[in-house]
């Protein structure tokens, strides 16, 4: 199974979930995704996802100076983003339940 493709489909929800906890910047989001087990996610995919969500009106951003390098753009979630996250969560929960049931039936049959 190509996990990369699956991850790409879930990336919007995963990014929204991280940003919903606290405002943060792109590279930190990548680190948190990897700590959570999304090893195969590409950096460029995360940056592209952030830009798409921002352009779609689901995220806010602000520039914050950093002593460790260039100024960082912190992304935060807004009301539209929270609404999208809530709907995505329901969809994922439903799909996961369906998949679990399907896989359990398969195992029982085996």
């Amino acid at each position: 199974m190509d996990t990369t493709q699956v991850l790409k489909g879930l990336l919007d929800t995963a990014v929204l979930a991280i940003v919903a906890r606290e405002d943060t910047y792109g590279y930190d989001i990548i680190r948190r995704l990897r700590e959570a087990g999304f090893d195969g996610v590409g950096e460029a995919s995360v940056y592209g996802t952030l830009r798409r969500l921002y352009r779609g009106g689901y995220l806010t951003s602000q520039i914050v100076p950093s002593e460790e390098g260039p100024p960082r753009k912190y992304y935060g979630i807004n009301a539209a983003g929270r609404d999208l996250l809530e709907r995505s969560t329901k969809t994922w929960t439903h799909l996961a339940a369906v998949m679990n049931d399907l896989l359990d039936l398969t195992e029982e049959a085996a």
Binding site: G26, I30, A44, R52, E68, G69, P70
Partner: protein, 313 residues
Amino acid sequence: MTTTAAATTLTPAAEAYLQRVRKALADLPEDEQEEILGDVAVQLADLAPATDTDLETALGSPEDFAGELREAAGMGTKPTPDGLWSALGRRLDEFRNRPAIRWWMAQWVRLRPYWLATRGWLLVASISVIYNGDPFVRFPLPEVLDEAWVGGAVVAALTWLSFRLARSPRRGRFVDVAFTAATLFYVSITLSGAFPLTQSVDELHAGASYRGLLGTDGPITNLYPYDLDGNPTQVLLYDQEGRPVLTRPELRSGGYEPLVSDGTLIIPEDGGAIAIPLDENGRPIPNLYPQEERPSPYRGVQPTIPTTTTLQP
């Protein structure tokens, strides 16, 4: 944020990587590019100093990175140019990817902030050197309009403009290139020593094709030799190579122009004559300048001299 801000903190390798990503995103709106590159620069700044790993190994090629980013952002793929420009672009990319060129590009990225900070001064100072000769009465302020403070103000304005142009690489690219070209042009002229462009009359005549006798104020149109008693006398003047000294080069074919003491004064200028001031005894007063020059009728024939006149008593 801008890549200029990033450029001050990124390593040369990271800056080179970022520039290739920028190129791969060049068809996107400028604001969008800056937003994306600002995010990427943060990661490059964190990655590059912490690891010896080549960035392309860690992140993939800049072009692939930009392609993946585009796909995730729903921006589509970069339009593919075709034909001659495409071929030239590929050749240029190959050239830029040569190790030696990449090394020089990295040096340029490292030195670029210094160039941005100094090119305004270089431009003003060069122009000032070229047109004023010695512009540094109050070094390092070059003089503009004969004032060092004006020069300082112009340098400050151009330095501000220099960094401003560097922060808006697309809109200000033409002006940026023109700025750089003008600076390099005037600096090269200054270093070549082909200045000042404004010359004194002496320098102008010394370097021109004028072959007559020159004074500090321009061509000498006549000479009036006197003997020790103050009487006009006749002499033949030659230069160090034995050539007749001509006060008017157009008379070269006629030999030289003598001044005689017997009452005939050769005036080569359209028959005019010199009125030489006389003392109470009727003798010419020597070395009295300025002497008035006035026309008089032509009165004689000198076969080898264009015109002759008679000295007025």
